[in-house]
């Protein structure tokens, strides 16, 4: 056991304490950086909202992936494909019906947002089924190749002109092709509050918020509330998956991950369990994709590149596959440090040195270093290209984790797969026969308690 395994034990509150501590430090860091840069309150609130947004998204995705990989041992590297299908189907169902001359090239079915969200999740689950049926019996690496191929097929399909627009139930709908799709439905928060009749209350709250942010407070409040909503979804995912894991169902999943043949020989229909687990995870990935893109106003197929899948994997591996707490933690650390961190850093540099003229290419950046030992252009180019370098860093982090900490930050942490504590029930006393409480080291048997007086006994060859 390494030192870090004990971190959670030393913090009051255990895992929950650790999560709170890590979240609090992340927020504190962002706020301090903001103060140092003279951000006004609006800027601070925006940066907190964005951070919360990504923490929520990656925690959700990481939890869903944990169901696949951590619990069931299904090596899914096509996550982004399920997200894409979720978002696009949701858009198809919930975008308003096409009107000629409107801003949108194509329309949708005009159904309420919640119908679209459910449809999107179902579509992701069904895609999961389609992938699972041929691939689940295959080796883990084959499933990996099939899932990533699927996610690229999904992206190419949405890019293709053939699905750009078509007719469904007599109305002009479509996926917009490479130029993307405008998500011109009612903004999600408005839809949510209207559906519970609190839209007026919410607007009143926004009004009151003017006391804190005088000019146009709505985007700020929207961002904060949406972030909080996402954290609510994280809690629901956590609850759902914890219950899934800590149950006879989760026990079978765990057994499948360990040794599928054994589970099968014990009478468990392993294919059925794998398909259910896979479809549930896919639906949750679809929902996470929907929640990510729903407030963005538009969606393009190239958002769904395999790198998003890679992000989720890093998040899960940081936290430690197999543990729900670890998944949330991994999602939060990934979002705060690896995903938002560099971008925030870039903004900071941009704020501190507002009029920097960074070179447009690596050539212009490196030549001053070679000819005049002037590293500034290269540094500027580095900061300017931080979104690419960020991926390099993530790759290196992944390699480092696999070398040094493949079990994640929390260490080897397995949650017991049962509804109840498995301690000996109080109603039972330890059996008298044979057991005298002494711990045996090998073979489970000491010489003297062998009551085995079987005819012939054992032979010694």
């Amino acid at each position: 056991m390494s030192v870090r395994d004990d971190i959670a034990a030393r913090i009051p509150g255990g895992d929950a304490g650790l999560i709170v501590l890590i979240l609090a430090s992340a927020y504190l860091l962002y706020i301090l950086a903001g103060i140092g840069l003279g951000y006004d309150l609006r800027g601070q609130l925006n940066s907190i909202a964005t951070l919360t947004f990504y923490i929520g998204i990656f925690a959700m995705l990481s939890l869903a992936l944990n169901l696949h990989w951590g619990y069931t041992g299904l090596f899914n590297i096509g996550i982004v494909g399920f997200m894409a299908v979720g978002v696009y189907v949701m858009a198809l169902v919930s975008k308003p019906v096409f009107v000629a001359g409107g801003a949108a090239q194509v329309g949708g079915l005009g159904l309420p947002l919640w119908v679209g969200i459910i449809a999107g999740m179902l579509a992701a689950a069904i895609l999961g089924l389609v992938v699972a049926l041929p691939a689940l019996r295959l080796r883990a690496d084959y499933l990996a190749i099939v899932t990533i191929a699927m996610s690229e097929i999904v992206r190419f399909s949405f890019l293709s002109g053939n699905l750009q627009e078509f007719n469904l139930f007599g109305t002009k709908v479509g996926f917009g092709g490479g130029s993307g799709l405008i998500l011109d439905f009612v903004p999600p928060l408005e839809a949510l509050f209207r559906s519970v009749g609190l839209w007026g209350v919410y607007l009143g709250f926004v009004e009151a918020f003017q006391a804190i942010v005088p000019r146009n407070p709505k985007p700020v409040v929207d961002g904060l509330i949406y972030g909080a909503l996402l954290l609510g979804f994280v809690a629901v995912y956590f609850w759902l998956l914890k219950r899934t894991g800590e149950s006879p169902f989760g026990r079978v999943l765990k057994a499948i991950r360990e040794d599928e043949d054994v589970a099968n020989a014990l009478g468990k229909n392993t294919d059925g369990f794998k398909i259910k687990s896979f479809m549930l995870g896919c639906a949750l990935m679809g929902l996470a994709g929907i929640l990510w893109l729903m407030p963005q106003g538009a969606v393009t197929p190239n958002f769904f590149r395999p790198r998003v899948t890679f992000f989720v994997w890093i998040a899960l591996i940081i936290g430690g596959a197999g543990s729900n707490t670890g998944s949330v933690l991994g999602g939060a650390v990934f979002a705060a440090v690896l995903y938002q961190g560099p971008r925030y850093f870039q903004n900071l540099v941009g704020t501190v040195f507002p009029n920097l003229d960074s070179p447009s290419g690596f050539g212009q950046a490196i030549s001053p270093l070679i000819s005049q030992f002037d590293p500034v252009p290269l540094l500027l180019y580095t900061v300017d290209s931080i979104r690419q370098l960020q991926l390099v860093v993530m790759g290196l982090v992944l390699i480092w984790l696999m070398h040094n900490r493949p079990e994640g930050l929390l260490g080897h942490r397995k949650e017991t797969a049962s509804v109840i504590s498995l301690d000996r029930p109080k109603s039972m006393t330890a059996a008298d026969g044979g057991t005298d409480g002494e711990v045996r080291t090998d073979g489970g048997v000491t010489e003297d308690d062998s009551t085995a007086a079987v005819e012939g006994g054992a032979s010694d060859e």
Partner: protein
């Protein structure tokens, strides 16, 4: 053989291999559709000829790059997702060399070394081509191979070797990390734009029934180099002691350890041969298609996986055959489906093979 026997055999086949039967029906329908198209004049023989030729070329690239992937897959027992970026790295190193030699004195050295990043210099302007600048191309091929070898050996030494005793999935995840680090490092250095690399090569038109199929100098170069290398690898594996050791290790690593084949040496040779072929495949791919971007290798990788699985992991002949099948599928699929789904068709072929014959066409894990 009596009719009854034939019938009962057929019935047995249908019951035992339902997938195969369905596939047969689908193949028949597709062929029928094609013949109908030809008969009605909707499809031209020359079009088909062009697509077949295109698929053949693509297949050679996939097959050549697939040999390396297949070898490391079977000998080191993991799916190397960084392989696609080895292809790109080989291509960039080789093309930087070609640009430098062909454009020296005519453009800024930095721009040439960065393969014309940001539109600073164009391959077409320098007039790069097999016939116009043969020395530059040959040097590029050599450097591409050498660089990919160095890269794969370096990555293996510092990244894969420390975790080589873990299971295949650990290595697979590690290789994904390598892939992303490499790919975006290349984007950082060479930029994200897709540049044209060659001048239009001279071509000859072959008359085919109702039209012409054009074959250009770079097609021929690819054909010659790819088949030459494939034959070379075949001879190496069949005729040399090293080749025998590699085949033994592909079959059973433990056995190879016991029988005293120096496995570390075999592993190194695997990376050298695989890396070299991969780098050259990357260079030839760019020479053939005439454009270069940092995503090229990655996009090709999934087709290469399809080819390797199709052919049977560990078999170099499988990789070559698989490459040709996948290349032809990706090219010819447009006869039946919209071109945006051609790539998808190649994946579907792979999935179907996984269903029908998961061990691949040349089944068994032997590098032979």
């Amino acid at each position: 053989m009596g009719i009854a026997e034939t019938y009962s055999r057929g019935r047995e086949f249908a019951i035992e291999r339902p997938f195969a039967l369905v596939l047969g029906v689908i193949a028949a329908v597709l062929l029928g559709d094609l013949l109908l198209g030809l008969a009605t004049g909707q499809t031209q023989f020359a079009d088909i000829g062009t697509l077949v030729w295109d698929g053949l070329m693509r297949g050679l690239v996939i097959g050549l790059a697939g040999i390396g992937l297949s070898m490391t897959y079977s000998i080191l027992n993991f799916a190397n997702f960084a392989h696609g970026d080895y292809i790109t790295a080989g291509a960039f190193s080789g093309w930087a060399t070609t640009y430098l030699i062909a454009g020296l004195g005519r453009a800024d050295i930095g721009a040439l070394l960065l393969v014309g990043a940001g539109g600073s210099v164009y391959g077409g302007t320098i007039g790069i081509g097999m016939l116009s600048t043969p020395l530059a191309v040959v040097a590029g091929i050599v450097v591409a191979g050498a660089f990919a070898i160095a890269l794969s050996l370096g990555v293996d030494r510092f990244i894969f070797k420390p975790v080589r005793n873990e299971d295949g999935i650990t290595l697979l995840i590690t290789s994904i990390g390598v892939a992303f680090a490499l790919r975006y490092l290349m984007q950082f250095v060479f930029g994200s734009d897709v540049r044209g690399t060659t001048a239009q090569p001279p071509s000859i038109g072959l008359y085919l029934i109702d039209g012409t199929v054009f074959i250009d100098a770079h097609d021929i170069t690819l054909l010659v180099i790819a088949s030459g290398l494939m034959i070379g690898v075949h001879l190496l594996l069949q005729r040399t002691k090293l080749g025998k050791a590699m085949r033994a290790m592909a079959d059973n690593q433990d056995l190879a350890l016991i029988t005293g084949i120096p496995t570390e040496r075999v592993v190194r040779s695997t990376w050298i041969i695989g890396g070299g072929l991969t780098g050259i495949a990357g260079y030839m791919f760019i020479l053939w298609k005439g454009t270069l971007g940092f995503n090229d290798g990655w996009l090709l990788l999934l087709l290469i996986f399809a080819a390797v699985i199709l052919g049977g992991i560990g078999s170099i002949y499988g990789a070559i055959t698989g490459g040709l099948v996948i290349g032809l599928t990706a090219s010819m699929a447009v006869l039946w489906i919209p071109s945006a789904f051609a790539r998808a068709a190649a994946f579907v072929v792979m999935i179907v093979i996984l269903l029908v014959k998961p061990s691949g066409l040349f089944s068994g894990r032997s590098t032979a």
